[in-house]
């Protein structure tokens, strides 16, 4: 296990280094001059040159890259071009908000997907299955910005919930929950609808396996067959998809964040793109890469726990 972990971490380091080089070089190709954007209607040759120099954008690319990469190794991701604040601080400030939203959204998604998917799989092509299918199709089809606006306009006043913003958990747990619930429902319904379809199909696939037929034929009660022989086998693909969903949510859900004025990482990354704030964008992409690597590692490790055969390979 230890060697497995060590090799995975080494792999992750190589991937991150590759991501760093790629992000940096691709951003240089993106059209749009950060200095012109920052100065807007006040751009002149002189102010432009002065800003370029202050931001270090006049240095050769290799010097810029080495300076940035060297800092990144020590956790210093440079200074945001747009706001003049350290990138690390900007990201850390928004990380709790994004983690809250991702966590709560996954919770909502599971609360929808597991019961709905299981019921559908138990009675495939029944009326219940039909209703569940329609519900999950609707959840997938409703655009998240539209659902967010509906919740803001109709549900927020009804339940006296805030129409946007974020309150840190450490400051006011009740306020935190009130701020997170509507965005989490918006994201969770979409994710949950996707997962419902997945729970249903992987349960159906697992229940068609030969060992399940054997279990049934030896007279095991259907609920026991479901719990011990079907669900356990269906878990592996499900955990994989869940991991991908979680990593996706952790890298920010831009549209929902904007609709709910939610200060998350997605909105930060969007601002960075619009203002060509290269240090901030590089930092954000690097963080997203870390998140994906970490979640994938956790998913892989969970295989060993869920399926003893994986560990012995």
């Amino acid at each position: 296990m230890a060697t497995y972990l060590a090799s995975r971490v080494a792999q992750a380091a190589v991937v991150l280094a590759g991501v760093a080089v790629l992000v940096f070089s691709i951003l240089q190709l993106v059209p749009g001059d950060p200095v012109r954007i920052a100065l807007g209607t006040r751009y002149t040759e002189e102010t432009g040159a002065a800003l370029r120099e202050r931001a270090g954008l006049d240095e050769p690319l290799l010097v810029q890259f080495l300076g940035w990469a060297g800092g990144a190794l020590t956790g210093d991701l440079g200074v945001s071009f747009r706001s003049g604040e350290p990138v690390t601080a900007l990201i850390l400030e928004r990380l709790p908000a994004t983690m809250s939203l991702a966590g709560m959204s996954i919770l909502v998604a599971l609360l929808i997907a597991v019961p709905l998917g299981t019921i559908s799989a138990l009675r495939p092509r029944s009326v219940v299955d039909g209703v569940a299918t329609v519900v999950s199709q609707a959840g997938i089809s409703i655009p998240d910005f539209w659902m967010g606006i509906l919740l803001i306009v109709f549900v927020a006043p009804l339940l006296a919930l805030p129409t946007g913003g974020y309150t840190p958990l450490t400051e006011d747990p009740a306020g935190w929950l009130r701020a997170v619930v509507l965005p989490a429902v918006t994201v969770g319904v979409t994710s949950g609808s996707v997962l419902t379809r997945f729970v249903r199909s992987s349960l159906l696939e697992a229940s068609g396996a030969e060992h399940v037929r054997t279990a049934r034929s030896k007279g095991l009660a259907p609920p026991a067959v479901m719990a011990w022989h079907v669900m356990r086998n269906a878990l592996l693909p499900f955990v994989t998809v869940l991991g991908v969903q979680l990593a996706y949510l952790l890298s920010g859900v831009v549209v929902v964040e904007i609709v709910f004025s939610y200060p998350g990482l997605g909105e930060l990354a969007l601002q960075a793109v619009q203002s060509r704030d290269f240090p901030l964008l590089q930092g954000a992409v690097l963080l997203f890469a870390c998140v994906f690597l970490l979640v994938n590692l956790l998913v892989d490790l969970s295989y060993a726990v869920l399926d003893p055969r994986v560990g012995t390979r």
């Binding site: 059209p31 002065a50 306020g175 609709v259 709910f260």
Partner: protein
């Protein structure tokens, strides 16, 4: 500074404010102390028994500030916050945007117009407790000039800024600059910061002399508290909590619920509905901004003024303004809005499709095809472009609308890589800002490549003419030529539209879009 912080309960803030007030006057906190005006200097305190400030105003901004250094930021959202935190030597009045004393109490100009002497107000305190003196003004202006910060160009004719007394600042100019006051007081980008602020990070910390102090900023908003030692009349509220709310449905729902007291996030489509809504006040005034289209005059077909005139004749400006602003805009064939001292009633173009077609035929440009570049961030410009395209189709001109990402738009504009582009200028007050750099040959913003020696001569003269009426006449002449030559095709001045709860009084929407909460009171 980055720690997000929830707004303290009203009672807590009130207690704190009183405690601080009591400390500053060396009195104990007791019931009588509460009645005392919390101001030490009290230079303008007249009416005794002014009510104590009450309540925290929640303001929802449509856009997010980039940072809070007034000399660096160019973001309008930043200035919507900083307007209440910093002061300039002079300020535009709310009525007609003429300049009034602020940190400078009075000023004199030498006979040759090259020396301006400003006398600073006494007893002005910065938020860090230090006193304002001439060195602070010298430091602030020198910082902008020497570090080539965003507004350095406004000091183009300034040779030196010197402290010639504790409270006296002398600016020496290389040539007469009649619009000097607009340059140093038009907006808070020319704010006075303390000379000690070299050690501060002004991007996140603000030390001004304004009615409110910036106490915290976070990803989702910023919090201001009333400044007890403010030199002017004390604010009527305890503080302002800014929230960045990009979604207008959320801002308007918050306004209805009472969660939000004020917002500038009012889409033109909802004006009618809000106007009738109880509990919500709508503020609307014609702004100093303007929308325009510029044609690339350095290459065919738009190097021929008649082709540009044909376009100007073919369009129905009312329909364009309506399509872009849903009625919240005023058609104008020049840049300067009606109501300004500098405005002229000049509107030579009347829609005439036949004349337009004739002009095109004479210029050999029948079946003209061109592309109009529009930045995606400018929704009214994008909407206006669609209307223009359909109108031009009627005279056989094919205009494709090329909506591009704003960063790329700026690149292409700078490189002259366009047939035509539409955009808007915001926040101008003096005619120099409206016309000079946009239309003088090789001007910094003359991306369209306009060149008319007569206009150059008039603009150069006007820039240095100190007699106001003569100056207005010069600009009027230049303006007519610019309009006749269609250096810009001017469309309309959009309205400033803001909405606030009926519990807010003393607020007004200003033509320069400045958001000032100094005189606002809040009913609980």
């Amino acid at each position: 500074m980055r720690t997000p912080r929830a707004l303290p309960l009203v009672a807590t803030t009130a207690g704190l404010a009183l405690f601080l007030a009591a400390c500053s006057t060396g009195e104990g906190v007791d019931a009588e102390g509460l009645e005392e005006a919390p101001k030490a200097s009290a230079s303008t305190d007249e009416g005794a028994g002014a009510p104590a400030p009450e309540g925290v105003l929640v303001a929802a901004l449509a856009n997010t500030p980039d940072q809070f250094d007034p000399h660096v930021t160019t973001s309008q959202a930043s200035f919507q916050v900083l307007e209440n935190v910093y002061d300039t030597l002079v300020v535009p009045s709310a009525e007609d945007l003429t300049f009034e004393p602020s940190l400078a109490e009075e000023w004199t100009t030498s006979d040759d117009g090259l020396q301006w002497v400003f006398t600073l107000r006494d007893g002005v305190t910065f938020h860090d407790g230090s006193e304002l003196d001439a060195e602070d003004v010298v430091y602030s202006y020198t910082r902008i000039i020497e570090e080539e910060l965003s507004n350095a160009f406004r000091f183009g004719t300034v040779e030196s800024v010197e402290a010639t007394g504790e409270n006296e600042v002398t600016m020496t100019l290389t040539e007469e600059t009649p619009n000097l006051l607009a340059n140093i007081g038009g907006f808070k980008g020319m704010a006075i910061v303390p000379s000690e602020s070299a050690e501060l990070d002004l991007a996140t910390q603000a030390v001004g002399t304004g009615p409110f102090e910036l106490v915290s900023t976070s990803a989702g908003g910023a919090t201001l508290e009333a400044f007890d030692d403010y030199w002017g009349e004390a604010p009527g509220i305890e503080g302002v909590e800014y929230r960045y709310v990009a979604e207008s449905a959320a801002a308007l729902t918050g306004l209805e619920n009472g969660d939000i007291h004020w917002s500038d996030n009012v889409p033109a489509q909802s004006i009618e509905q809000l106007d009738e809504q109880e509990g919500v006040e709508l503020g609307r005034t014609s702004s100093t901004d303007y929308h325009y289209t510029a044609f690339n005059q350095t290459r065919p077909p738009f190097d021929d003024p008649d082709v540009r005139r044909a376009i100007a004749l073919a369009v129905d400006r009312e329909a364009v303004a309506e399509g872009a602003t849903f009625g919240a805009g005023t058609v104008n064939q020049t840049a300067i809005p009606e109501g300004s001292f500098w405005a002229n009633d000049y509107a030579p173009f009347e829609q005439d499709a036949a004349a337009a077609e004739q002009l095109l035929a004479d210029a050999g440009a029948e079946g003209l095809q061109f592309s109009l570049m529009v930045p995606d961030s400018d929704e009214p410009a994008v909407a206006a472009a669609q209307v223009v395209a359909s109108q031009l189709a009627d005279i056989g001109v094919t205009m494709t609308v090329d909506t591009v990402e704003t960063g790329i738009f700026l690149d292409r504009q700078g490189q002259g890589d366009f047939d035509a582009f539409s955009w808007a200028w915001i926040g101008n007050i003096d005619p120099f800002d409206y016309y000079h750099a946009q239309h003088i040959t090789d001007g910094g913003f003359n991306f369209q490549g306009y060149s008319n020696p007569e206009v150059d001569e008039l603009l150069t003269q006007a820039a240095a003419e100190t007699d106001e009426d003569a100056r207005k006449e010069l600009y009027a002449e230049a303006e007519q030529l610019i309009v006749d030559d269609v250096s810009y095709l001017y469309w309309f001045n959009p309205d400033v539209v803001e909405a606030w709860s009926s519990s807010v009084s003393g607020y007004e929407a200003r033509p320069d879009s400045a958001v000032n909460f100094e005189t606002v009171t809040l009913e609980s």
